[in-house]
Subunit: 339 residues, 4 copies
């Protein structure tokens, strides 16, 4: 870490800071300028909060140099992570993976039809929510276990993998037999107890960025899962909240190449939540892949106008089909391919 003292800080205050740095485990190197003193801490310190240095008397600024995440950093696995699923599908590497399906599992007919349409369009994963706590207590709340069983059934029938959202620790065991990938939603990105438990599971996880989460915070949350030993992890940009209200969120496309630089984990985009309006989903999906995304997670419904949730941002089946065809053309231009 680095501490820059205020101009003409008293020696006594400088000594206090040095002591505190040494206490944490730093070797401290001091640079004394005409008016300013800089303390550089190197070595292998214990865990510390840089904010505590920022409020010490005499301190002008304090910076953390080393990333607070280790396992998630690109340096940990420079070649990049790939995740191989039971049926041989690989996420990461050169692949651009397509995950699609309705917001919620609503009925056997609806989810079977969805699976067939996702498969026909060229997708590898079927998405669909079984547990749907909504922002209003009066909205549809999902089919629960019944929904999980339906997902597994239709996925097997159509040759797809299942990704669905886990919302609490108690659901993990329940979900394990039916799914191929846990999805952690934006609202749970900092539900650290849940993340920790998912670190102990041997099943891939897709972690979505919270709507107000910085890129560094996404990586710290990833670290929670990785530090439990679960390395089959992907990240997903799905829009952040800004002052713009025409779109549901502002999809931060730049987070895709930035994450690809900072971490070895695959990075997907979710344009459905990113914009919240059907007509802008395809442009944002194309943009995501052009910017280097390893895949897309999208909402598609056999009949969006009748969807019990998120119909406004769900693609029609034929839109998905057309979109995947375009993605197949764009991917090679940036050195990738859609399966």
């Amino acid at each position: 870490m680095i501490v820059a003292m205020q101009d003409e800080a008293k020696e006594e205050l400088i000594q206090q800071v040095i002591e505190k740095m040494v206490e944490i485990g730093f070797d401290v190197h001091r640079t004394t300028g005409a008016t300013s003193t800089i303390l550089a801490g190197v070595g292998k310190p214990g865990h510390f909060d840089v904010a505590e240095f920022q409020v010490l008397e005499g301190v002008h600024q304090a910076y953390r140099i080393s990333s607070p995440y280790k396992l998630a950093g690109r340096g940990f696995r420079p070649e990049g992570t790939t995740i191989t699923f039971p049926n041989g599908v690989v996420v990461g590497g050169e692949n651009v993976t397509i995950m699609a399906g309705p917001c919620s599992v609503e009925s056997p007919e609806q989810i079977l039809l969805s699976a067939q349409q996702v498969k026909a369009a060229g997708g590898q994963f079927l998405r669909g929510g079984a547990f749907k706590p909504r922002s209003s207590p009066y909205s549809f709340q999902g089919m629960g276990l019944e929904g999980l069983k339906l997902l597994r059934e239709v996925a097997d029938e159509t040759g797809l993998l299942v990704i669905t959202e886990v919302m609490e620790i108690s659901q993990i065991e329940l979900m394990l037999p039916y799914i191929d990938c846990f999805q952690v939603g934006a609202r749970n990105m900092q539900n650290f107890n849940l993340l920790r438990e998912l670190g102990y599971v041997r099943k891939p996880v897709l972690l979505k960025r919270g709507i107000a989460a910085t890129i560094e915070e996404v990586l710290l949350s990833a670290e929670y899962i990785l530090s439990g030993g679960n390395y089959d992890l992907m990240l997903c940009e799905r829009g952040i909240r800004t002052f713009e209200t025409y779109t549901r969120n502002t999809m931060d496309i730049s987070a895709i190449p930035v994450l690809k630089k900072l971490t070895h984990l695959p990075v997907l985009g979710d344009p459905s939540h990113g914009v919240g309006k059907r007509e802008f989903v395809a442009p944002m999906a194309l943009a995501s892949v052009a910017a280097g995304a390893d895949g897309l997670l999208m909402e598609m419904h056999p009949n969006p106008d009748k969807a019990l949730s998120d119909g406004a941002q769900s693609l029609f089946p034929e839109q998905l089909e057309k979109l995947v065809a375009q993605l197949r053309q764009i991917a090679p231009i940036v050195g990738r391919s859609v399966a």
Copy 2:
């Protein structure tokens, strides 16, 4: 709800929208202007998502008129909610309630000393975290059940009430015997399963605004708890995330009078998380009360420089004492009083 059709929308599209409105349970009144048509839906509709109307063909704009929350609305209890605690302390009404204590319970000595200092300064509640999942998996994670017991013990000894954070459903039962008020943190503001369970409990709850939550979303989350039958609920503004980085968050002081208008629930301010730096906590506490807050939740530590968490934003005991003295003078100017 209101739907404004696009200029010169075809009659067929207008009929489609009317049908969908009627389906939901609206009575539809149509206004046909020279170029534009407006559809006003009144009556008692079922639950619906206004976004689905916004994407219908021919629709220019669609608005929800009625609040999606009912029990949380000011109209439900115009006189305002007051919450009476076992020892007679009342939150709401004319009172400005002081809640203070360390971020985390660290040891018997630390928490006892904290309680004594909070009491001496004039506080009514002792705060302190027992479960502390942190944004880095490598930081101090709290004392757990042991911490709860200590809180209860020292609070009883000093005549304070206990408020502490609940992070999962499984902790509710565990906490019930030891605490006087559940605190739901910003990260859990939309953990709807947790909120629902807290609605079934007969113990007061303080619900913090999420860092990217709109005021309407805070009220929808409140609705979750209220709809379970737990009316002993308070809200708390604790800073939102903006582009400004000098402070940890931007404390939205205006949310206090806005919430006081929109809801009958007591509204507190948490200036410690709001700014994240000790020296600005007092000005923001004073500002909160000047703006109409029903109380304050603040971090104070007997020795902030040695705190295991959030030391940078914790007041020194003597700072709390001075602050409460100032609050005692400000409160009456806005028709309130500090106990």
Copy 3:
């Protein structure tokens, strides 16, 4: 406009609102529900501020239905605007236009070399700042008139068009002989006096979105220029300010398809300012075109490490060349072409 009265608003208050609506020029249609009253105003009102209705006693919500912009709206010219430049270059339609060059004109050698490199890479416009007021008063402030002359000279020599920023009304006359397109920077997006004057000029204008401007505000600013009679206008997304600090701004790629829907004006992207770091410029340029941009405005410098301003976000000449080659492949997939 629509005014929804509060539940059980008194008749007297309803009449007040109706009067005020009529005063402005609305025909008012009233819908009276069991508890709520809705007033729909249609017709051709004078200019009004919807906020004034929102604060009237008894009013629950008030909405403006008609867009406050007319000439900028897609409906004004559904087929889309194309702008033809003296040398036959057309912006808009199927074209994806490339504009590139250094942040500032620094010397005759630097700007000539830049022009040659932009031309070689396949660009149509040379950009370069002559007037450079910077956020610090102590930074390089541009070459002024001398810079304009150099831009014209090297552009003519290489067969490029010149786009450069205008910062004040007094510069308009000065610039006219030397440039092909005025650029209005993000900081001047709401410099309404400047916009008005540019409306009277017969020379194309590129208007950048402000860092905190909503899409509607961009269109209102466009309206200022259009209402003066200058229809040769393009818009440009260049990043908005959010809480994310890893990138200089958050480039709102979704603003591109949204603007393409709402307005007939060409929409460009500026990935250099959007991200602020060279290595992410290319992915964001590709994403912009994949999402439907009509062109790109980018910083390129013959020697970015020696640039007097914005070197960190300037492409190397060979990066620009490679990028344009990729853009040439992506454009046809979305029905467009790079010249």
Copy 4:
């Protein structure tokens, strides 16, 4: 400045960075840890852009240590700036100054009545816009020079000072004979040409924070004015743009104590623009003063419902009177006084 190299950066890259630092004028001190190298630059460098170091090969992070502003920093005048006006009114020090009046000067009667009401309520300054370019080209645009003359006339008659907004360099000369203080609006906070000219004027200036400006950027803009030799400068917080839409902006009350720490300049609050709705202006005014503001700039109109602009956020005269009475009581609690 500080540059932290990437772990195991090659010696050659380290040397490149050192050279570039030396070129700028730094003395470089090098700290070599087991894996990481830190370069501390001290001395008196020329002007530089830290972003250029952040993108150099091998660099992990680069920080500027010294503030990029000097004259605006608290250290330049630790005792704080006070500004004395011709009639003896002093802004700064212990005073809390009240500035109020309508958004726009509309007529001789309206502005005279406004002045009388501001005076009666206890104000020292009359505000009122003469030049009013609005976000819609179709709204009322102000009375211009005529408005300036009216302001001067009624201010003299009532014993008030005049503050009004300057929007362009060409207005400065025009305004000088009529006003006591220039106001630079949020949209012009980074109109550096205007700021520079105001630095050469010998008349006080109030500089408002832009809606997306960081606190550091406010101070850099202040530096522009100060560096021209005009030290009679005040700053004003007036709300920043966030995702919350219930209020027009989010007034960042914490910016007041933060600015008071970082700079010697007086800091005012503008709650009218901060919230945009009349009923929340008073709570935010009280909060501003409780948090340490040196004054308030507020909109008041003799008949807000008939105001030609900003009526929704203008106080009624009797509201201003009541508010100032409360401010008189709050100020002494934080060591200040309202004249």
